[in-house]
């Protein structure tokens, strides 16, 4: 289980025009590891996360999940088929939830498993019930997203991603759009996933959460990984001046 490269990013670079968002980033995440990516806005952390599932493809470099290269160069049709396949193994949770408003909670969760994994209606319903129980929202199964609070929406979004039985979960500022009192319920769900050894890569502004849950913390600034290490080192004893400056602003709350 341990020491096995699970998600590998090699020499990742990306530019929009002449602006380099990511500059030669290397990252290896082991199975079951929980990695937090922190850094100021515009540092490239969301772009890096979105490169992992090809939402924002890299300009150069490689992304691997186990022994499959995610960003393979292929002719258009093959590339689409390949990406649709590998994305099934990569769950993603967004800042703005991106629940489907025209479907109930049940519909949101069962859509992809039914369409892509060929589950029967009964199997998919059972799956939806399991995943909702896990995020503590069993009673909301037949509600539309418009009837849910932000925290509940995000928990449904997590359940929807988990229903695909992903190998890794990506969180892109999952609690940034939430009212402060709703953050904790989402953090609880993420902690629970951590305890189940789900491999997670988390872009976050919440240092306390990163410190308490993650195995490793990456500090990014201006498209590079400035410093990385266990949270105890990064948060208490960072080496780099930029890291210290950033943390001074974010920890003095």
């Amino acid at each position: 289980m341990t020491d096995q490269a699970f998600v590998t990013i090699k020499n990742a670079a990306k530019s929009f025009g002449t602006f380099e968002v990511l500059k030669d980033i290397n990252l290896t995440v082991q199975r079951g590891q929980i990695v937090a990516i922190i850094g100021p806005s515009g540092s490239g952390k969301s772009t890096l996360l979105r490169a992992i599932n090809e939402l924002d493809p890299l300009s150069s470099g490689e992304v691997w999940l186990e022994d499959v290269q995610i960003n393979k160069k292929l002719p258009y049709r093959q590339y689409e088929a390949h990406v649709n396949q590998v994305r099934q193994d990569i769950g993603m949770v967004f800042q703005h939830f991106n629940l489907f408003p025209h479907l109930t909670v049940r519909g949101n969760i069962t859509l992809a498993p039914r369409m892509l994994k060929g589950l029967s209606e009964a199997e998919a319903n059972k799956l939806a019930e399991e995943q909702l129980a896990k995020v503590g929202l069993s009673e909301k199964i037949d509600e539309y997203p418009s009837r849910l609070s932000g925290g509940q929406k995000q928990r449904v979004a997590i359940a929807r991603a988990l229903a695909m039985k992903p190998k890794v979960m990506l969180f892109d500022e999952a609690t940034s759009a939430l009212d402060p009192e709703l953050v904790e319920e989402v953090n609880q769900v993420m902690k629970q996933l951590a305890e189940e050894h789900m491999t997670m890569i988390i872009v976050t502004h919440e240092m306390d959460f990163a410190a308490s849950v993650c195995d490793r913390v990456l500090f990014m600034d201006q498209g590079v990984v400035v410093e990385e290490g266990p949270p105890s080192v990064i948060f208490q004893n960072p080496e780099n001046e930029r890291t210290r400056n950033f943390l001074r602003k974010h920890l003095s709350r």
């Binding site: 994305r87 991106n98 489907f100 992809a112 695909m164």
Partner: protein, 218 residues
């Protein structure tokens, strides 16, 4: 000669039949214009130019010429090239395609207005572009477009009177028949107008009900 509405009840059956045909043609053309509108919108936004350009040309043709003329063309014109459509079918096709073009404009705008996060949410789960379009984007676009499309349906109901000119025995033509027997145009046109109004009220009530039903799922 004063007004005498006492002749109207004896033609009640004729008017009712006419109203029935008006409703039938509105429903059929409405359904055609709804699905046609979706198909045209998807072609306009996503299809290869070899399909997109002819469809756009066709759309311009339907928007830039009178519906009356289009009905003449479909019913009387097509016979010359061997396509002999029953009047009802010709009426449904003419009205349906005409309003499909208008609906398509609405649906295109509505598709483009669907939040980018919806595509990302769907694609991240592994849905293909086509699956995302069919299951996520179009259903949302259609829900958003139901209120303005309802206005088109009301216009369609009223414009269905035009198919009287190709001999479909709908409400307007039924009224004309009654008039030709009784010489009471005012009474029967008024009665027909009243019938249109009632059907329109029912249509509007139906649309409001639909809007309320989908309110939660938007």
């Amino acid at each position: 000669m004063g007004l005498d509405f006492s002749v109207v009840p004896s033609y009640f059956g004729v008017l009712l039949m006419g109203a029935g045909w008006t409703i039938a043609i509105t429903i059929c053309a409405g359904i055609l214009s709804f699905f046609g509108g979706i198909v045209f919108a998807v072609i306009a936004l996503y299809a290869h130019w070899a399909l997109r350009l002819p469809v756009r040309g066709f759309a311009f043709l339907f928007m830039g010429t009178p519906l009356l003329l289009q009905l003449f063309l479909i019913y009387f014109g097509l016979i010359q090239i061997g396509i002999d459509l029953p009047a009802f079918v010709a009426g449904v096709i003419g009205l349906g395609l005409h309003f499909a073009v208008y609906n398509s404009e609405l649906i295109q705008a509505s598709i483009l207005a669907v939040d980018k996060g919806q595509y990302e949410g769907a694609r991240t789960l592994g849905l293909s572009r086509g699956q995302t379009l069919r299951r996520i984007v179009i259903p949302q676009a259609v829900r958003a477009v139901i209120p303005p499309m309802g206005n088109n349906m009301i216009a369609l109901l009223k414009d269905s009177a035009l198919v009287s000119v190709i001999g479909v025995m709908e409400l307007t033509l039924a009224a004309q028949q009654a008039i030709s027997r009784t010489y009471r145009p005012f009474e029967f046109y008024l009665a027909a107008a009243f019938c249109y109004y009632i059907v329109n009220l029912a249509l509007e009530a139906g649309l409001r009900h639909l809007e309320r039903r989908i309110a939660a799922s938007r």
